[in-house]
């Protein structure tokens, strides 16, 4: 119960009882720390009785001051007030300091656990990432499009993404200072303000609370990193810091800042002047808020490289989610600069995301590796790009708002595919970008396929990779929806065509051996077959087939279904051709010497050999296989 003036005392200033003044003055002098040892050693606000007496005395003197009591009293009164204010300032500071331990981590964590739940799924997946992506991403790094960090780090593409709930009422104020201390503080504040000592009050409050906020920051793991520091860190370390920052920022805005604001309101609630609590709040949190956002700002202006996209989007999303809370906590005119900074960072992050997408597209187009992938299998670039755009499709809700322009192509760049989006007028920009990425991936792959010396292998390579693209699209609903069935059909047609080209290139010579013409001698029909020519044919066929079998067993078609289909397709042509060839001409060979030199293989054996194809077997493995049969 706040010490009130006793009713028996007259409130009419003129009728001032000097003894009232004297005793009040005495109380104040008693606690003048410059004058007495005892006053220095004890604090008033540890003893409620003393509190009552003291504040009563202060109120009393203040009444005299405001009632113009005549020169002598006025001078004593103003002197007493100064001493009282100096004392109250110390008491104020003392109460604040003794209750301003940083928010204990338990209450911070329990507040933040609510905030963290959505992110746990996300983080677990990231921790379990496998390293298969290493070689794929090294490729992009070699194109020079990546960040300037020197260590070759694994790019961890997060495999999943938690959904962020976009609630605005997630502010949680906690009690920073026990209520009885708050009451004392507000009693003191009232006296200081009405005596005109507002400035001192704000200053003490601000400096103590600010360092409490600083301690809370340290507990939350918020670091004082400069932009230079952020530039120098490798991406893996940065990813971790971003994750931590997102968690911490939510707690800062929703708990720490909000609680400080409430505390200001409570302490200065009964104080007459308007907006004092606002000034105190800004005094307390302006510096820390700027420090907090400096990190996000540093990230938003760092060099762009493809692996940064998803964490930047996470940061962007986190900020968007926080924006309503930021607006609500920092709703004062004096905190304009903080709101403005948050908005600036958001827009820079959006720009960065757009820039990175561009970078990525360039990198895919220009990825220069020429070493053909052995066996014509799936190129690491294909894997990386398809994984990347699958992830992009998962971030669709965010990206659809950010990506606003169609993909562009440097008009003078002759080394890029044509861009014709006439058939896809109703697709949004993001979808167009994805289609474009697939186009340029294909374009790049076509270029790479030319480095195979064997034409058949280059077609196989194209087939494998385009097929992989198709499978990845089919495997993701989002992606399929964005790419659309039209392009999917085109891609499907593409790999089927490549399969056909492969067959032609690989088998035409073999099949040529089994043709009819040229074997029959002129004029006759029934038995006019040139045995020597026939023998040559059989020899060629055997040699060619053996060669094809040896070489193409080392080739690879990773997709089992595609592999089987291809084999079947080959057999559909090869098997009947051989069978009928044997049927027509075997008697001629068998009637001659050493038929086993010419008919080396049965139809069944032929079919079995074809099954070896595309298994990626090395020569030794083939040999071992044969021996075990």
């Amino acid at each position: 119960m706040e010490p009130q003036e006793q009713n028996s005392r007259s409130s009419d200033g003129d009728d001032c009882s000097v003894s009232g003044f004297d005793s009040a003055e005495k109380v104040i002098m008693k606690w003048d720390a410059t004058a007495s040892e005892e006053a220095r050693e004890k604090m008033i606000f540890t003893d409620p009785q003393e509190v009552k007496l003291y504040l009563h005395a202060v109120d009393e003197i203040q009444r005299y001051v405001s009632s113009s009591p005549g020169e002598e009293l006025e001078s004593r009164a103003s002197s007493a007030i100064q001493i009282a204010m100096a004392r109250l300032e110390d008491e104020f500071r003392n109460i604040l300091v003794s209750h301003s331990s940083p928010i204990n981590s338990d209450s911070l964590m329990s507040c933040s656990s609510h905030v963290e739940v959505e992110e746990d799924n996300n983080n677990n997946n990231e921790e379990e990432d496998n390293n298969n992506q290493e070689e794929e991403t090294d490729l992009l790094k070699r194109t020079g499009s990546s960040s300037s960090s020197s260590s070759a780090t694994t790019v961890r593409l997060p495999t999943g993404r938690g959904s962020y709930s976009r609630s605005t009422s997630s502010i949680r104020e906690i009690e920073l200072i026990p209520i009885d201390a708050v009451v004392y503080l507000s009693w003191i504040a009232r006296r200081m303000v009405s005596a005109g000592y507002l400035r001192e009050c704000i200053q003490v409050y601000g400096s103590v609370r600010k360092s409490a906020v600083d301690s809370s920051f340290r507990r939350l793991g918020i670091e004082k990193l400069s932009i230079g520091d952020v530039q120098r860190l490798n991406w893996e370390a940065l990813e971790q810091k971003i994750r931590r920052w997102i968690r911490a920022a939510k707690v800062c805005v929703r708990v720490v800042f909000a609680s400080e604001k409430l505390l200001c309101e409570h302490v200065f609630e009964s104080v007459g002047a308007v907006n004092i609590h606002e000034a105190c709040f800004m005094e307390t949190v302006k510096g820390p808020a700027i420090q907090l956002f400096n990190f996000a700002e540093a990230i938003s202006i760092s060099r762009r490289s493809p692996e940064k996209l998803f964490k930047i989007l996470d940061l962007h999303d986190a900020l968007i989610e926080l924006l309503p809370d930021i607006e609500s906590v920092f709703d004062l005119k004096s905190s304009d600069s903080i709101r403005v900074q948050a908005a600036e960072i958001l827009s820079r992050l959006a720009e960065a995301a757009r820039g990175i997408l561009s970078e990525f597209e360039n990198a895919v187009l220009r990825e220069p590796s020429r070493v053909p992938v052995p066996g014509g299998t799936i190129h690491p670039l294909t894997r990386y790009v398809m994984n990347y755009i699958s992830l992009i499709s998962e971030y669709r809700p965010t990206l659809v708002d950010l990506i606003m322009s169609k993909p562009s192509r440097n008009a003078t760049d002759t080394n890029a595919p044509e861009m014709d989006f006439s058939e896809v007028e109703n697709k949004g920009p993001l979808a167009l970008h994805l289609i474009w990425i697939i186009l340029i991936l294909q374009f790049n792959l076509e270029g790479k396929s030319k480095y195979y010396r064997d034409a058949a292998l280059s077609h196989l390579f194209v087939m494998n990779n385009v097929h992989y693209i198709v499978q990845k699209i089919k495997g993701s609903t989002e992606l399929r929806e964005m790419i659309g069935d039209l392009y999917l059909r085109k891609l499907t047609g593409k790999f089927r065509q490549a399969a056909t080209y492969y067959q032609r290139a690989a088998w035409v010579k073999v099949l040529y051996c089994l043709r009819d013409e040229g074997l029959r001698t002129k004029g006759s029909f029934a038995s006019g077959v040139s045995r020597s020519a026939l023998r040559e044919r059989f020899k060629s066929f055997n040699a060619l087939f053996e060669e094809v079998h040896r070489v193409q067993s080392q080739w690879l078609v990773p997709d089992s279904q595609l592999r089987e289909e291809l084999k079947i397709s080959i057999l559909e042509k090869l098997s009947p051709a051989y069978r009928s060839f044997l049927g027509r001409f075997r008697s001629h060979i068998e009637s001659g010497k050493h038929p086993e030199n010419y008919i080396k293989i049965t139809v069944e054996e032929l079919e079995t050999e074809v099954l070896d194809l595309f298994e990626g077997l090395t020569a030794t493995q083939q040999h071992q296989r044969r021996r075990s049969e």
Binding site: A33, E223, G287
Partner: protein, 363 residues
């Protein structure tokens, strides 16, 4: 280079294009020279290193930066070839500019620091405002308290640490106030890490800055020019505003062959002179207004110490006079700090924007 020259002679289109480029680069040199000549002209006496003057310096920087940005944009085809020396030059400039961004952020802290002093001087003014009531002992004590806080707050970093050590070794401060010295130590309120150093930033900004030859073609000269301007501006900011580990020792020298060298070096020398003056040697920032506050508050402090009650009329009018002086500098700060801070922030933004744009074409 010879080859391209011959090609330019043949292709008249390219020749005129080349002339345009030359004209552009020349105009840039001229503009920088003009701006700094103006600044040099307006740098007499009290103007140099005032909030207003530094504001003008920042404005000049923004102009030069804009023109530089246009030059880089017009040359982006040259720049995008990743192995071209132009590419290296420009990307080097933007790496350096990151140091400048960090300086801008540190300056923000420094401005906040100055605001604290402004608020303390506000207390002094409020205490001694004789319009409300006669200045009595109480008000004097109040003013004195604020003045002591101000003096401690304005101690140069190194001094304040020494003071803290001394006080700590004496046990609790004699006056019985439980004020923890730590709260006055500026280092706690910096938003930079303890190892961050303004002077190291400047040194890094200036490192390996090679002077191009007069007739170097391409962007060597404009890049050198812009880098020098950037370095100079940051140097001035660090000189004027309190920040962690201020130091002006970075060597800054521009050879006379450049048109803008004379005014820039003249300003540089004036500021170095200023820093060596006895009364400013150990200050925490060369900003004129800091000096004025320091002086006013010191004088006021001495005056208050010399007053015995009852106060003579002479003393009363002296107090009034000193209060007016303090009010003047307080107003200057109150009105000038916010726009100044915004300008520093604008510099930050322009550097970032220019860097982002150019990095995109640098690949």
């Amino acid at each position: 280079m010879l080859l391209s020259f011959r090609r330019d002679q043949v292709d008249s289109n390219a020749a005129s294009h080349n002339n345009n480029m030359e004209a552009e680069l020349d105009s840039f040199q001229r503009q920088v020279a003009e701006k700094f000549t103006d600044l040099n002209a307006s740098s007499s006496g009290d103007d140099l290193l005032s909030l207003e003057w530094i504001g003008k310096l920042l404005d000049s920087f923004l102009c030069c930066q804009e023109e530089f940005r246009a030059i880089v944009f017009n040359h982006r085809s040259q720049i995008s070839a990743s192995s071209s020396p132009t590419n290296r030059l420009v990307s080097d400039y933007f790496e350096r500019s990151i140091k400048a961004l960090d300086v801008c952020n540190a300056i923000r802290d420094g401005v906040e620091q100055i605001r604290q002093w402004q608020k303390l001087s506000d207390i002094v003014i409020s205490a001694l405002d004789s319009r409300r009531a006669n200045v009595g002992e109480g008000q004097l004590r109040r003013a004195k308290k604020a003045l002591v806080d101000l003096a401690i707050g304005m101690l140069d970093e190194k001094d304040s640490t020494r003071l803290a050590h001394r006080n700590r070794s004496f046990g609790r401060a004699k006056d019985g106030h439980n004020r923890s010295m730590g709260q006055h130590l500026r280092s706690l309120s910096w938003s930079v890490s303890r190892s961050w150093s303004a002077s190291k930033q400047l040194q890094a900004l200036a490192s390996n800055l090679t002077t191009p030859r007069q007739n170097d073609v391409g962007l060597a000269v404009p890049v050198y020019t812009m880098t020098s301007v950037l370095l100079f501006v940051m140097w001035v900011l660090v000189a004027a505003i309190p920040c962690q580990d201020r130091g002006l020792q970075v060597s800054f020298f521009v050879p006379r062959q450049f048109r803008w060298a004379a005014p820039v070096m003249s300003l540089h020398d004036k500021i170095v002179e200023e820093s060596k003056r006895r009364d400013r040697k150990n200050c925490c920032g060369l900003l004129k207004e800091i000096g004025r506050i320091e002086k006013s508050s010191r004088v006021m402090n001495e005056l208050i110490d010399s007053i015995h009650f009852p106060m003579s009329e002479e003393k009363e009018s002296e107090v009034k006079q000193r209060v007016e002086e303090l009010v003047e500098v307080h107003e200057a700060l109150k009105n000038g700090l916010d726009p100044f801070e915004r300008k520093v922030r604008e510099v930050f933004h322009r550097i970032v924007r220019s860097r982002t744009e150019s990095l995109d074409s640098l690949c």
